[in-house]
Symmetry: C2
Subunit: 567 residues, 2 copies
């Protein structure tokens, strides 16, 4: 992965180059943090021409490391105002590095109103007119592009949400089946892509670059052991059988399943939205419960969810969506939730923020609690672009403020995930202090030893998790591949795998240093954007209102939060 | 003015106290800056319980100094996120100090949904239920309160805008005729009042406090000379004859009359919206062209604007409203503009931000340019609280972003005034660098010597104006009373007037030090709220798009802007 590509949308120029000196050990999320720190004014308008949109792969993307084919997308977020990296499965990362590209960077924006499809080749960039695709959502768009360029292409695209600049817009990525079901979902990067008037990136076929490795044998030996350890982890078994939806019954049992706009921690209809129920349903409907979101994934927690007629409805139907669209809105109809998942992927909005958005709309009395059909109608309004739909498309914080809701479950403007921070305080610390805003993928500590509702030690737990997740996001590996970290010997193996590819002596400390460096760059960007430790807080209601089942409040002291990421 | 009053809306307590030590020489805007720095977290939610809403009078409020009866209202702004002081005429300031009160501070907010009318007396505070007044706009509300408490009362109130939390909400103040036509307009402080569930403050009658003065004779002698000099200033004559609308033909002639959402500097129908035309119309309609907005005003630039039938329509109908609702929206029908002024006062929204909001809505194609009736309908939507109306009620920045408009004429989220910064660069520097966000009253340099479109020296010009305006706002004096500053001897007189009241030797430097101190406190608050010098900028289009008539762009270098307020 020798090349960088810079695409300027003002003059439609494209320049391939060697990566700048000293960038060899920056990949994925850390590479995005480095480029944004070096090149983008943290105070810029996220939808203005000064922002840059970066697509890149991780440090181990071009290796057989398990689950290492994640695509990182980054820029300044129009949702949070912070630095932002969102990563996704799908095929695009592998296609990208096969062109010999480590990263491509979209700069500036057109002065006119002409939209483009940008076709990337090994040494070429084509800017094709996109007029005929405007107004299309992702499923139709992808079908048309596959019609035009062939079924083997890989696509990163936006729906109408990104076109319209909804601050909760995603970049959707085609999965191994060619469906736009994987998303660089969080933080509104689809709106940044739309601000640059790019409807889709297309890679027509894989290139010839196959990666470089200093010591293939050393890598292969360690990779085999690491992968075996990962597959032996007990959580991976549950994920493989039921997808991430395995968590519904787990969190409900813990009293942290986000219910009725984070007012309760248990949902009386949890069983109806559980992974177990989905597996049963999909057994009858010929769905697929073991499915890889990207080539190279060995965990396979994705699935194909068919509707009652046995036809494809959606894929990548995750616990977070089910918890936030389902329990959080008291919707018990799993097919309605799946329908909303599909509609969100199609429109190109983050299902998590959308679930919390529907939750605050319900709290405001816009639609009744638990009414799946009314929720579908709200998403339809986002698709149709009604006045209310455009507000909802801007995410939970904007919608909550618009409707005058006091209890808005966000951190730095981004909706929290489906784990109530009062009963899972380590993840609460992550929500509050992550440079990304409320984001469980930056350091979720569910399943870690100790009482999850005891505040003691949770800052350290979150810090370690945040460093490890920043590392995985920089390697381009799925965060679930870190389950092998339960045994420190496996971390050492991973360190030596990095060494086998890039050279040098690597130990756990040096490996984790990649995560620390990433977080440090991200915090620096946010600081220059105006964020201070006072922004590293959860909404007050988590401290003031106890979870009714347990009486737990979020009580990690502010001084401890301030010390969470001392980089 | 010995007393402070703290009103806690959580437990409905009220505590009178002596001002804290060392606060003697803080008044008006500076007192607000001091209290907010001492007591309010700059990162707090402006509509949350941590914010405080402060009403106070200036240092010379209880003296015969000309135009010294301005009321300052302050808090953290929900519109800009900055510190905010908005001052207004009307009778409330005089009523307030007659109770012996220098300031009252509203703290916390109710846990329940009960709204209150807060009645202030010399040693008493009553919390009366406000249910029967909810949903009323200011004109109806004030009439009902006058019915209940008598015609002599003074009122500070909010309309439905403040009730609903519109981020462009005002606090309206009754004028000497008992009409709610004066506004602490900018920055959404009406929403802060609404967040504390206060519909109106009422003072039933003046109290017995008459002020204290160390050396009455020394004050009176200097005051007489100062007042005479002020009345002799040539600008004051124009203001008295035509109101601030005298500026329409002036700015149009200079090519800086904000036209068609700041895309032009001249309006072909300027004459139809000019002060000269208004004076002619009002002559026929028995309107009043020389009218004091508060007792003690000797300039009398306010007026009473009657409709075509000779009935009262509005008062305090300012150049800024006419420029931003009129020229900026290409509306030439002065009666339609006056109608919008009345509707805005009634609903309780800032006419300036509303004018720019309608401008961006027109740019987005929501209604046609120049269509006064359609603009009235948009304001009616804000009154009715339709989905679109609620977006518009949140001001220009929110509406512009919602509609996807690129050219949004705001600084720090607040709409600019009716002087295009490309042709009046000193005021442009003020827009960019004022701690209040885009605000001409913080340092307008129109009429100052030199070429207004030449960038040289404009930072110093703005700095001096900003210091002087911060001084006037702290004294409680109308900024127009600074016209006497054209002769430095008058500034010395004003310094000695402060000395005659408070003691000590005062010279120009010490007097201006009050302004510097105020700005320094405000900048400190904003810094802790996350603002940096990168926020001290105008929207890029002012640098990139030339005014068509003159070819002028805003070209004051960023490094100079960074040095504008080195306090």
């Amino acid at each position: 992965m020798k090349k960088f590509l810079r695409i300027n949308m003002a003059d439609k120029s494209a320049v391939f180059s060697a990566p700048p000196q000293g960038m060899e050990l920056f990949g994925g999320r850390a590479l995005i943090a480095k480029i944004l720190n070096d090149e983008v004014d943290p105070k810029c308008d996220a939808l203005g021409k000064e922002n840059k949109l970066i697509f890149c792969v991780g440090l181990l993307a071009d290796t057989p490391a398990p689950c290492s084919g994640r695509l990182s997308v980054g820029g300044k977020s129009p949702l949070t105002g912070t630095i932002k990296e969102a990563n996704a499965g799908g095929t695009f990362a592998q296609y990208l590095f096969s062109l010999g590209l480590k990263a491509f960077i979209i700069e500036d924006q057109p002065a006119d109103d002409d939209w483009h499809i940008v076709v990337l080749g090994e040494d070429s960039v084509e800017f094709l007119p996109a007029e005929k695709y405007l107004g299309m959502n992702n499923y139709e768009l992808v079908a048309c592009l596959q019609q035009e360029f062939g079924a083997k292409i890989s696509i990163a695209s936006i729906g109408c949400a990104g076109e319209r600049g909804y601050r909760n817009s995603t970049v959707q990525i085609t999965d191994p089946d060619g469906k736009p079901a994987r998303a660089a979902a969080r933080g509104g990067l689809g709106a940044v892509m739309g601000s640059k008037k790019i409807k889709a990136f297309v890679i027509k076929e894989k290139g010839n670059y196959r990666g470089e490795m200093l010591d293939k044998t050393a890598f292969a030996v360690r990779n085999k052991t690491y992968s075996k350890a990962l597959l032996g982890n007990h959580v991976v078994g549950g994920l493989r059988a039921l997808g991430t939806a395995v968590l519904v019954n787990v969190t409900n049992g813990m009293g942290i399943l986000t219910t009725k706009n984070f007012s309760k921690g248990t949902f009386e209809h949890a069983e109806a939205i559980s992974g177990e129920h989905i597996a049963e349903l999909q057994g009858d409907r010929n769905g697929v419960m073991v499915h890889a979101c990207h080539p190279g994934c060995i965990i396979k927690c994705s699935q194909i969810y068919n509707d009652a007629d046995g036809n494809y409805l959606t894929s990548g139907f995750e616990y977070e969506t089910i918890g936030l669209v389902g329990a959080n809105c008291e919707i018990k109809d799993i097919d309605a939730i799946a329908r909303i998942d599909r509609m969100c992927d199609d429109l190109g909005i983050d299902t998590m923020d959308a679930g919390c958005t529907i939750g605050v709309a319900m709290e405001a009395g816009e639609i009744p609690w638990g009414d799946g059909e009314a929720a579908i109608q709200l998403v339809q309004e986002m698709i149709d672009g009604t006045e209310r739909g455009r507000i909802l498309g801007n995410g939970t914080e904007t919608a909550g403020k618009h409707f005058g809701v006091k209890r808005i479950p966000t951190a730095k403007g981004q909706a929290l995930a489906a784990y109530d921070p009062r009963g899972l305080k380590g993840t609460g610390v992550t929500y509050a202090t992550s440079p990304m805003g409320g984001d469980h993928t930056c350091g979720n500590v569910i399943g870690m030893p100790g009482d999850p509702a005891d505040k003691e030690g949770k800052v350290e737990l979150s810090r370690n998790a945040q460093v490890a997740m920043a590392l995985m996001d920089s390697l381009g590996m799925c965060i679930f591949a870190s389950f092998a970290f339960e045994n420190p010997e496996n971390i050492q193996l991973l360190a030596e795998m990095v060494g086998a590819k890039y050279g040098g002596d690597w130990d756990i400390e040096k490996l984790m240093g990649l995560g620390v460096q990433c977080l440090s760059l991200e915090k620096n960007f946010n600081r220059l954007a105006g964020f201070t430790e006072k922004d590293d807080r959860l909404p007050a209601f988590f401290s003031e209102e106890a979870l009714p089942e347990s009486g737990n409040v979020f009580d990690v002291p502010n001084e401890e939060l301030d010390a969470a990421l001392p980089f």
